[in-house]
Symmetry: D3
Subunit: 242 residues, 6 copies
């Protein structure tokens, strides 16, 4: 199956994560994934939502937004069901990697703003958002001004992060499973699926649906195989991001 850009079925597009791009936020990552660009920032607040007040736990939430000029024709700035659905997925996925009790009574808000959209914006948001989250947690200080979780000591038992979280899309294109669809593939795919998993390959979320078609268990399995393989590579890039 030749893909329109020459990639193999199990081949990711180029992926680059630039940390610290938006220096006002506690954590920030510019994700350049093929022609898709997403700016993920993680802002830290010492307050929690009202319904968590006094429970000794923190919260992680996400917002997703496409900038008007990220696509053509221009996307109007207005509330949008698709964005709502996507930001709920991002938030759930990131929370799966966080120990909210170890985080303490703090809120981390991960904003994912799409600068250029060429497919895979939600998986780029989760992948980059996790790195921004990790960097934001490394800036938390106690009342004496000392870092509570210095960089490199953020993940693990008793730490705010349980493990890494990454995501990738897979799909069924001309009856064959393919990894990491770009926009031309995505818009013609028979099935579009997003898989979120940990760095150790455990599943966090699976979302897939036919676009006017149905799919079989065997096709589902072929797509999941590709996704798990891709997420392993993405995890390496997250860990090595400059």
């Amino acid at each position: 199956m030749p893909r329109h850009d020459g990639r193999a079925a199990n081949e990711l597009r180029s992926l680059k994560l630039t940390r610290g791009y938006a220096s006002a936020a506690a954590g920030s990552v510019l994700v350049e994934w093929g022609q898709t660009t997403v700016l993920c920032t993680a802002s830290l607040s010492n307050e929690t939502p009202p319904w968590l007040a006094g429970k000794g736990r923190g919260w992680v939430t996400a917002e997703y937004n496409m900038l008007p000029g990220s696509t053509s024709p221009r996307k109007a700035r207005k509330p949008d069901g698709r964005s709502t659905e996507i930001q709920r997925l991002i938030g759930r996925s990131l929370r799966a990697g966080v120990d909210l009790a170890a985080l303490g009574e703090r809120t981390l808000t991960v904003d994912c703003d799409v600068l250029r959209a060429d497919g895979g914006t939600r998986t780029a948001s989760i992948t980059g958002g996790w790195v921004a989250l990790r960097d934001a947690i490394a800036t938390i200080r106690n009342e004496d001004g000392q870092l509570l979780f210095p960089e490199g000591d953020v993940v693990g038992p008793g730490k705010p992060l349980i493990g890494s979280v990454a995501a990738v899309s897979v799909g069924l294109v001309r009856d064959e499973a393919a990894l990491d669809l770009d926009y031309p593939e995505d818009s013609t795919a028979q099935v579009d699926m997003n898989v979120v998993a940990t760095g150790t390959g455990d599943l966090i979320e699976v979302q897939g649906g036919g676009e006017g078609t149905t799919f079989s268990r065997a096709q589902l399995n072929a797509m999941l195989d590709l996704a798990i393989e891709g997420i392993a590579q993405i995890t390496d890039l997250q860990n090595g991001a400059a």
Copy 2:
């Protein structure tokens, strides 16, 4: 694994579909599924959304809403990300069973209003919504006032409905897969998954996620097995609904 209400792992709650409950709408079904009650109505309009104008195709869209008194404490009437996410799933799922070209330039709006919520409201909405849709299509008349797709002749090649669509929830409760979670199970499940499929067992949409935990491929497969089995029974109930 004894379930709190005595059901077997692969056992559905009682499910009753009452057609024609809200007689002003072209199609309407009251879904009573365990303690969950959803009123699904399908309204027919001879207009299409602006972006489909003149393309010779129709549209199916859905809205989902929980009545304030359907749950305790009372749910305020206000826009809500969860409802947005659910109604997008309902709309996509129902469209997967519709031949929009055979429908012609018409819009069917399926409203799913939850009267009592005890888990599984989104799968009840899809399951009942499909029956309401089928009944609404049977009321379409041509310019001479004759029925275009008389009841019993709505599904099949060249007809507006490709096949039936049904949905069920599955989950991982105390490490075991279980079918059709009610609210007490759903709120303590490790994984919650919704599966939408055709009456012939082809997959339309799979959505599952861990609630603060992760899951394995084997667990995913066990849940899918239960779901496919349950949907076959639900399809029979859809076909036999009075």
Copy 3:
């Protein structure tokens, strides 16, 4: 004057009140009044609106909503001046039957959702809403978990309910006064009037207006006579509701 459905001028449509229909709410009543169906739920909260804080009194408020499929063509879900006007009438009418000091610092919210609309939805809402309110009050418990106002001991001096509240519509159809208009009558009536009164026949609210016509004092009196007579019968049904 033969009415289109054969009723006498002073004859109500059939009216059935089913209590406990939506079991999550503290009180709930399904009102089936001719072809009109309204679900009334009363939800109880131990908070009051901010402007009542610390005043030792409670509050009763109402919301009214027509489900999209309750009428044809479909009614869009959006704020609507008519609904605002109606829910204010429902709230004022129900409060007229409540001793807010005896209720204590609690809020009762009565939601009236119209499942099928065939005229008289606002009077059905008041009539059913009062029964839901009565049942909700019977669930109030003190800090020790004991019922403060057990069922059957809710109405009277020092109790939260002063007396019963019911409502009915009357109108002028082809120059004659008629009781309890259905939609075909309502949409052609010269005058449309809603009367709210207590079970002892005292007036709570009178609202009537010509639809492009005017009316005389004599006609107003004829309509009021019918309304008072009808409300007496409705009160009996409220008291005997299963």
Copy 4:
């Protein structure tokens, strides 16, 4: 019954109508009624609402608004159920005096903005709004620029106005009926009622309700007697307004 300002039970507050106050609008009237001041403007448009397009009839609609500084404490500028209810009453009342077919395919929007609020703002709006409407109709020109309904020739058979429309409040204060309540009376009245009628004494709308109390048929009749008497005087002021 001595009233707090020395008026007799059947005595109106001073009422002054100043025409042409806001010269940009087709019709405008400043209503100074006791300490209540309302600016009514009637704007004319050659379009109708979409649902009336091509039906050869016009429309009259009203908007009601209290300026923030019209009352103390300041009233925030935001949508408000009370205003919605009042503007619907104003619109219905004014339409009762208009022959929409004779008006032709035009819309008249009557804006009632309260500059000072001291009770009776809705009846001031209807009373002044009708005069503004009359003046706006006198500015309608045909395609050749000639006046279609010159001032003084606006009311009567085949003309846009059927007759005059005026309104007044009445109430039950310390068990006695009183005409034209100001704010101190209104806020302590047992019953508050608004009556809209034509200049010939026919009823257009009657709206009355107890404020935590009920009322009898005899009390209703006493209030209606006062209202009819007051409206006759108000009609004279409308006809003579400078």
Copy 5:
């Protein structure tokens, strides 16, 4: 340069300030400036915005609104970028004349509602708003009910008002600078500029822009000369307002 209404280039339109027009508000001024009429009210509250809580300082804010009938065609009641921009200018300008610490923890809200619009509504709002503000401050009482800043003792060191604030428009009409544009001039001016200054001639805000044209430093200076001269006259009127 003959102006269309015969004024000299440096001549103001007639300007009348009527204090106490809306008696419920702490301060109120009706501004009649040529054919432009603006009602300015200043409401006093003993609360501050949340972000100022406990800082020992007060706040002054402004809202600007055109009534629908103030212009033709009618202006719809809806949020509007122009109004937002204008009310921010009014608020900033008035705050420049206030010592917020001397004001204490209070909020003054200045509402500027345009009854008739004929150019210069924002400068009328600032000019009248300052007088309303001054009158509202003169009503502030301490806990014993005594006036803190009696009328005539409101301005000066340690008092809430630093000095007076007034505004006027200038523009470039047919290549010549002109003072106080009315609507016909404003809508054809090459440049439109608003100048806010103190009674002693110090600049508070300068806002000017070409309408499809540009302007030179020399033209800017000519306009500023006229504005400063006009503001001196307006200041005298503010001080002498009845």
Copy 6:
């Protein structure tokens, strides 16, 4: 006067304009101005706003938005008076450089999204927005697909662009005029002023105001001198942008 970052009073921060950053939009420029980063995109549509329909002219409009993570604490995504005011300034400023008749019936929407905010975001938006606009115009094609205004032939008589537009801030810091304030200077400046001008030094818009202080004509002139000098340098950078 030593500035906190060592610049001279008339010295700009480093300014870099990167064209083509967001390739889906017709024109796009990443503006990096000191620590401020703004992404400007210009989207092209062949429709005009309804009020321009059929008039043979085009329109240019702008939207301004700060991303939540562009500042600390995080800025919530919600409508905001400051943004409204700024985007109106951007739109007016850019239109001053456009011949709307030569543009034809097209709309150019310039979106300015702030990725990092360190002062001067509105002047960066105007400066970068003009370059994005210029690039977008160079992509306009006629019905045969040929470029109407090829790159390099966009500005001049009969072309859509009259000339270049650029902007810079100036202010009064510790009583001295300074060019191009960053956030630390801006937040402590006595006066903050934005100047928009053409590449030939003609003024388009001047907006300046004291922050709790006033300023003199001489100070105004000193600031304008610096601004004009700075805009000349910025114009050179616009013309040479890669």
